[in-house]
Structures are given as structure tokens and as C-alpha cells.
């Protein structure tokens, strides 16, 4: 198991190093190195998957720990861990990554820095695998940052284009905002528990080691902020649409299937320790994101931007799923979404490769030219729309909506958590049908582009076919997934809390007084939190909760599912019909834009979120920068220059004294000597008579003194 995990993890890293240093010298830019590496990873991942799943035991756990940092009295362990969720994630990540690698051979053919592109893909695969395999929060954070970097490199791969350079900067900075929150969350967990290994964290939290439930909620929400950044949830979603500046296979891999799902994966990992309040926050953020992103997707002209907003919206669904306690729904939607959204993105890549434009209004009628792309596109569109039974999207999406409905029915004050995604489901069908009709049906709008369009080579069509096959096989793996991937059973803290809050306490208080239900429930939770240490003392065995969130109240959930099934069928029909009516045989959307000009403008400009950030965050920051620059210039520079001036004055003073006083004394002595010398040299005439006269005079004086 260790060997397989290490092969899976390290071979892509080795490929990255090889590509970085030898890429240009290898034939074909060394693409076979990266593809071979990810192939080896895929084999290892399959083996791991087989090992984990063959036993059919949901609680499977394998881990390996080594000491990473070891200082006196302070150890940070690192480690790898594999459980059923990890095995699924490995297969999803490596599988999609492998197909994208293959697709890229055709798509990126002849681009500059071809070898580096594959190197970056390998780096990304390694980072994502590290994130998935890590058994502790710090390791996850390391992988988290690594995927951030490789995403930055890949978004900015066409960096000579200004928009690409700006997009990768934006993605990186926006992610940092989220990562800051996540880092604070990790530090809070460390402060409270002193451990970061997930298993121990579950255990400690289950034993009530957190100082208060409010702190636990804060930790959960902070960690979720990281997921908000990475998974492009509402306040921080702005980077994902811009990230479409990267090569399309990259969008498929990173910005649809894997990296953005990392946030959902994190929330899934933290699921056992999230408090009901934290889950509620997650559910609301997810619901709002699902709705608003879907509305924006309606009016975008760029095929990749539509898919980008669709991705944001679907990630919102996953968050809703986890937020309402549907562990299976949220994480299974991650899996299914990875397949059908990667297929959609690769399909759009195939289209873009053929017609060399991303504007859907320059396409049209492509189904005759590109039958394979068209077929796979329709299959994955059906999946994202939740087409019943045949597609994998049906199983995950209906489950999320059903659980959300159950949640909404029990807690009517939170009905929005169900209503928004439900409306978004109609919108999803609508915008996907719109793109499909405009791109593949009708008459070609741009004759020339249409004539040149053609299906790509085998390396482009094969991944599409594989992904759509996976999409169609959803019924085969939905069951095993639900049976195998369950929240860690070591703690039922959250489960119990959750059940008590959502289905017990709140029902009672809700019946008494709806408007005060939340307060009453809070009071109830406070009691529960006080009781927690007592439970811990009596031992965890007696602490086993009767029901996990996935087993909650089967009856009400089933009625929810039945109703949701009808509702989403209705949504499907409604969306397809509306879109067909509106967009069938339309040559452009100007008439529509004029008719709904107000709404159109708001949606087309994405609710002016970017503008708001520009005005609310970027500009104040720039002002602050200018202010501090001015402060720097006036005060700091002033002080420095002032001290310089002072020093100059002082030294000119001391220079003056040196010149005038010290030199004056020295020169004075010299001049005095000179003056005396000049005076006395007159005596020394060199005339012997003068000397004699002096001598005579002296003698006479002496004689006179002698006499008198």
C-alpha cells in the first residue's frame, strides 16, 4: 500500500523535475514523460482503489506517519492516509488528470513552451495527490498551496497575453484571501488541540477537547473560508471565470474537476468536526453561490465562461449538500461533476480547437461537423441537468436537492437553502440548453469558421468518449459510493449535535415558536456543550450516536426525494423548453438584450462584483498605498534627510573650526616663527664687518657692566 501510494504521489513529481530541466532536449518536448508518469499514477491509484474497495468495508483505514519537524518538545508529524474517500478521490483526480494529459497532446500541439506545460500538469497532479493523501491539516494546507501555485502557473501559461497574466495574478491573490482564513483555522485547531492529524482531531473533538462550541464553530468557518477561496464560493468566486484564460484542458482539469473540488473535499474531511452553525453557514454560502452563478451563466457569450459560472454554481450545490448534512450528496456530486464537467470543458476545448473562437455567437450548426464532440457534449449536458437514471448527475444532484428539501421542510426559516438551488436547477438546464443550441444547432453564423471546423484527432476524441462513458455509468457506482464512503465513525460529535439541532431540538422549538426557534436551539446546544466533558470522562464507547446525518430520518428524506424527483423533472422540461423557444434559430441575442436591458446589464456584468471589489477593496488599498508612500516620502524620508542635513551642518561647523581654529593655531605658530625668522635674519647679513661690530658692541657692553 505504501509503495502504491508513493508511486502514485511521487512519479508525477519526478516527471515535473525531468520536464523542468530536460524538457527542451527530449523528443516531442517530453510529453510522453508526463503522460507516462500520470499513467503509472493511474495504475497505482487503480490498485489502491481495488485494495480499498475489495474488502467492502466502509471504515477502511491505512496510514503512515513520519516526523517532519522535530524540535525539542515540539513535533510536527506528516503522513499519508488512505480511506475510502481518499481512494475515490485518487481515482477521480488521477483519472481526469490522465485524460486531460492525453487531450493536451492534441490541443497544445505546436504551442510555445510545450514541455513546460506538461511539466506544470505533472506538478499539479503531484500537488493534488499530496492534498488528497495527506493525513493532517498541515499537509493538506501544503498541498493546498501547491495546487494554488500550479494553478497560477497554468492559468498564466499564455502569459504574453495581458489578460492571462492579470487572470493568474487575480486567481492567486483571491486564493490567498481564502488561504489566510484556512491558516487561521488550522492555527486555532492547533491552539485548542495541539494536534493536526485528522484522526486525532476527530478523536479530540469527539471527546470534547475544544474549549467551547463557539470556538469550534469559528474554527470550522475559518477552515471553510479556505474552501470558499479554492472552490470559488460566493464572495471569492471572481477568480474562476477569469481563470478561463488558461489553456482549455487546464480549465477542465483544475478549474472544473479537481482543484476547485478540493474545497469540497476539505469540507468533507472536516465534516465530523463541523458544528451545526458552521454547517449552516456553509449551506447558505453554497445556496447563494449556486443561484447567483447560475444566473450569471445565462448571459455569457464565451463558451468557457458559461462553463466557468456553471462550475461555480455546481460547487455551490456540493456545499449545500455538505451543509445540510448530506455527506454522500456533496461528495458524490464532486465525483460526478468531475466527470461530466471535465467532459464539457474538453468538449468546449475541442470546439475551440476547431473554430478558433470562444464566442458561441460565432459558432452554430457544429453538430454535423463534429459528431463525437456533439454526442459527448449532449450526454454531459444531460448529466449536469440531472437527466433521470441514465446519467450520474441525476444521482448526486437529486440527492442534494432531496436532502436540502428535507432540511428546508424541517426548518422553514432556512427554506432558502432548498429554494435557491432548486431555482438554480431550472436555470442550469436553461443555460446549458442555450449553449448547446447556439453552438451545435441551427445554421452556421460564421461560414468561414464553419468550413474549417473538423473533429480533432484520436487523442482529443478518446478522452471525451471515456468521460461520457463514465457519465453514463453513474448507476453502477452510485451505490458502492454511498455504501463505502461514509464519514469517519470515530466521532459522532457533530452527528449527534447535528441530529439534535436539525431534527430534534429545532422541531420541538420550531413547533413552539418559529421566530424564536434559533435562540431556543442555541440554548439547547449550550447545555449540550456543557455536558460534553462529562461524556468524555465516561468514555467514548457509551457516546455512540444513534444516527449519523446520512441516516437521519429516512422517511422524511424519502418523501423529500420523491417530491424533488418530480420537481427536477419539471425543471428539466421547463429549462429545455424555454431555452429552445427563446434561442431556436436566433442569430444573435441583441433583441433579448434590448428587451431586458436592465437585468441583462446586471447579469452580463456579473452583478458588478468585480467593480465592487475594484471600488471597495483594490482602490482603498491603492489609496492606502499612496498614503503610506506619501508618509514614507514626507515623514520617513524627511527624518532621514533631516538627519542628513543636521549632520551636514554639524560637520560643516566642525570643518570650519578645523579650518579656522586648529589650522589657525598651527599656521599661527608657523607664521609667528616666520615673522621672527624674517626679523632676525636681518642680523645674519653674512658681512663679516657686521659680525665684528656686534662682537665689539657686546664686548663694550660687558666691559661697562664690569666697570660699573
Amino acid at each position: 500500500m505504501l509503495t502504491a501510494a508513493l508511486i502514485c504521489l511521487l512519479v508525477p513529481l519526478a516527471a515535473f523535475v525531468v520536464q523542468l530541466f530536460l524538457g527542451t532536449r527530449l523528443p516531442r518536448g517530453g510529453d510522453f514523460v508526463s503522460v507516462g508518469a500520470i499513467g503509472a499514477s493511474l495504475l497505482a491509484a487503480c490498485w489502491i482503489f481495488w485494495q480499498v474497495m475489495a474488502g467492502g468495508e466502509p471504515g477502511y483505514q491505512w496510514s503512515m506517519v513520519f516526523r517532519w519537524v522535530e524540535v525539542e518538545g515540539f513535533t510536527i508529524p506528516m503522513g499519508l492516509a488512505i480511506d475510502t474517500l481518499t481512494a475515490w478521490m485518487l481515482l477521480v483526480v488521477v483519472g481526469v488528470s490522465f485524460l486531460v494529459h492525453v487531450f493536451s497532446i492534441g490541443y497544445m500541439h505546436g504551442e510555445d513552451r510545450y514541455h513546460l506545460y506538461f511539466g506544470y500538469l505533472s506538478l499539479f497532479s503531484f500537488s493534488m495527490l499530496w492534498l488528497v493523501l495527506s493525513d493532517n491539516l498541515l499537509g493538506i494546507f501544503v498541498g493546498w498551496e501547491l495546487v494554488g501555485v500550479s494553478s497560477y502557473l497554468l492559468i498564466g501559461f499564455f502569459f504574453p497575453k495581458r489578460s492571462a497574466a492579470l487572470a493568474c495574478k487575480k486567481a492567486f491573490l483571491t486564493n490567498r484571501v481564502g488561504d489566510l482564513g484556512m491558516w487561521l483555522g488550522i492555527m486555532l485547531v492547533w491552539k485548542e488541540l495541539g494536534v493536526l492529524r485528522l484522526e486525532q482531531v476527530y478523536h479530540h473533538v469527539g471527546a470534547g477537547a475544544f474549549s467551547s462550541e463557539a470556538t469550534l464553530t469559528i474554527a470550522g468557518v475559518l477552515l471553510f473560508v479556505g474552501a470558499v477561496g479554492k472552490s470559488a464560493q460566493l464572495p471569492l468566486h471572481v477568480w474562476l471565470p477569469d481563470a478561463m484564460e488558461g489553456p482549455t484542458p487546464v480549465s477542465a482539469l483544475i478549474h472544473a474537476a479537481t482543484m476547485v473540488a478540493a474545497g469540497v473535499y476539505l469540507v468533507g474531511r472536516l465534516f465530523p468536526i463541523l458544528t451545526p452553525d458552521a454547517l449552516l453557514v456553509i449551506a447558505y454560502v453554497g445556496a447563494l453561490t449556486a443561484f447567483f452563478a447560475a444566473t450569471i451563466a445565462i448571459v455569457q457569450d464565451d463558451i468557457k465562461r458559461v462553463l466557468a459560472y456553471s462550475t461555480v454554481s455546481q460547487l455551490g450545490y456540493m456545499m449545500v449538500g455538505l451543509g445540510v448534512g448530506s455527506y454522500f450528496g456533496g461528495l458524490f456530486h464532486l465525483t460526478t461533476h468531475a466527470a461530466f464537467k471535465a467532459c464539457l470543458f474538453l468538449g468546449s476545448g475541442s470546439v475551440i480547437h476547431a473554430v478558433h473562437t470562444q464566442n458561441i455567437w460565432e459558432m452554430g450548426g457544429l453538430r454535423k461537423k463534429m459528431p463525437i464532440t456533439f454526442a459527448t457534449w449532449v450526454i454531459s449536458t444531460a448529466a449536469i441537468s440531472g437527466f433521470p437514471v441514465l446519467t450520474n448527475g441525476f444521482f448526486s444532484k437529486e440527492r442534494i436537492l432531496g436532502d436540502a428539501m428535507g432540511f428546508g421542510l424541517h426548518l422553514p426559516q432556512h427554506f432558502l437553502i432548498f429554494a435557491l438551488p432548486m431555482v438554480a436547477a431550472v436555470i442550469t438546464v436553461f443555460y446549458m440548453t442555450r449553449v448547446t443550441i447556439v453552438t451545435f444547432f441551427g445554421e452556421p453564423r460564421d461560414r468561414e469558421k464553419y468550413e474549417h471546423a473538423h473533429e480533432g484527432g484520436f487523442e482529443i476524441t478518446a478522452p471525451l468518449m471515456v468521460l461520457s462513458a463514465i457519465t453514463l455509468l453513474g448507476f453502477a457506482y452510485a451505490g458502492p459510493f454511498e455504501r463505502m464512503v461514509t464519514p469517519p465513525s470515530s466521532t459522532d460529535y457533530a452527528a449527534e449535535q447535528f441530529a439534535a439541532f436539525h431534527y430534534g431540538e429545532s422541531l420541538r422549538t420550531g413547533a413552539l415558536d418559529e421566530s424564536h426557534g434559533a435562540h431556543a436551539a442555541e440554548a439547547g446546544r449550550g447545555e449540550a456543550a456543557h455536558e460534553e466533558p462529562a461524556h468524555a470522562e465516561t468514555g467514548a464507547e457509551h457516546h455512540e450516536a444513534p444516527w449519523g446525518p446520512h441516516r437521519v430520518d429516512a422517511h422524511s428524506l424519502h418523501t423529500g426525494h420523491r417530491a424533488v424527483l418530480y420537481l427536477s423533472l419539471l425543471a428539466l422540461i421547463l429549462g429545455v423548453a424555454l431555452a429552445t423557444l427563446i434561442y431556436h434559430r436566433k442569430r444573435s441575442q441583441e433583441a433579448l438584450a434590448r428587451r431586458f436591458s436592465g437585468t441583462w446589464r446586471v447579469l452580463y456584468n456579473k452583478y458588478f462584483v468585480d467593480e465592487a471589489y475594484q471600488a471597495g477593496v483594490v482602490n482603498p488599498l491603492l489609496w492606502l498605498n499612496r498614503l503610506s508612500a506619501a508618509f514614507d516620502r514626507v515623514v520617513i524620508d524627511g527624518a532621514v534627510n533631516g538627519s542628513a542635513t543636521l549632520t551636514r551642518a554639524l560637520s560643516s561647523g566642525s570643518g570650519w573650526s578645523d579650518l579656522r581654529i586648529i589650522d589657525g593655531i598651527v599656521n599661527g605658530i608657523a607664521s609667528v616663527t616666520q615673522v621672527f625668522g624674517a626679523a632676525f635674519r636681518r642680523v645674519e647679513t653674512g658681512r663679516i664687518q657686521h659680525y665684528f661690530a656686534f662682537f665689539l658692541a657686546g664686548t663694550l657692553v660687558l666691559m661697562l657692566i664690569r666697570v660699573y
Binding site: G686, R687, I688, Q689, F692, A693, L696
Partner: protein, 100 residues
């Protein structure tokens, strides 16, 4: 008997003449002769004193002075001749080679 003071007056007069010669003349030979006059004025004063007081010190001194003068003349005249040969003049004012 001639009073001592006359001898001393003569001696002082001779000395004064010698001094004047040394101070006023610039010819090295004249200076030399002035110095001889002063030496002999001194001799005269010694001998006059010896006539009155007796004793041998004064005549011995005079003999020393005469010997000294002879040596002086021998060396001095040789110098003067040499100077005259090399410089072509005996003007003491022009002997200024060492002047800074």
C-alpha cells in the same frame, strides 16, 4: 719717565684705528692689516703695564700673541691669495656663497 696713560692712550688709538679699518674697509687684505694693528695695540698695552708692575706674565703673553700673529699671517695670507685666485676679488661682501 713718560706717564703710563700715554702708552695706554697710544695703544687705544692704535686699537681704534685698527677697528675702524676692519669696520670700514672691504678689502680682505685691509681687514687683515687692521687686525694686525689691533693685535699690536694690545701688545703695547701689555708691555706698558709690564714696565710699571714688573712680572713675566705680560711679556710671555706678548710672545704668544706674536706667535699667534705669525701663524695667522701665514694661514691668513695663504687663504687670501687662494681666494684672490679663485674669485678674482678680495671684496668680503662678495663672499656670499653660503647665504640662504
Amino acid at each position: 719717565m713718560i706717564d703710563l696713560s700715554w702708552y695706554l692712550l697710544l695703544s687705544a688709538a692704535l686699537f681704534g684705528v685698527g677697528t675702524l679699518v676692519v669696520l670700514a674697509r672691504r678689502n680682505a687684505l685691509h681687514l687683515f692689516m687692521g687686525i694686525e694693528l689691533m693685535l699690536n695695540a694690545g701688545n703695547l698695552a701689555f708691555l706698558a703695564g709690564a714696565r710699571i708692575h714688573g712680572g713675566a706674565q705680560a711679556p710671555v703673553s706678548v710672545l704668544f700673541i706674536l706667535a699667534l700673529a705669525a701663524a695667522e699671517v701665514a694661514v691668513g695670507l695663504a687663504l687670501i691669495v687662494l681666494i684672490h685666485r679663485t674669485r678674482g676679488t678680495l671684496d668680503v661682501g662678495s663672499f656670499n656663497l653660503l647665504k640662504g
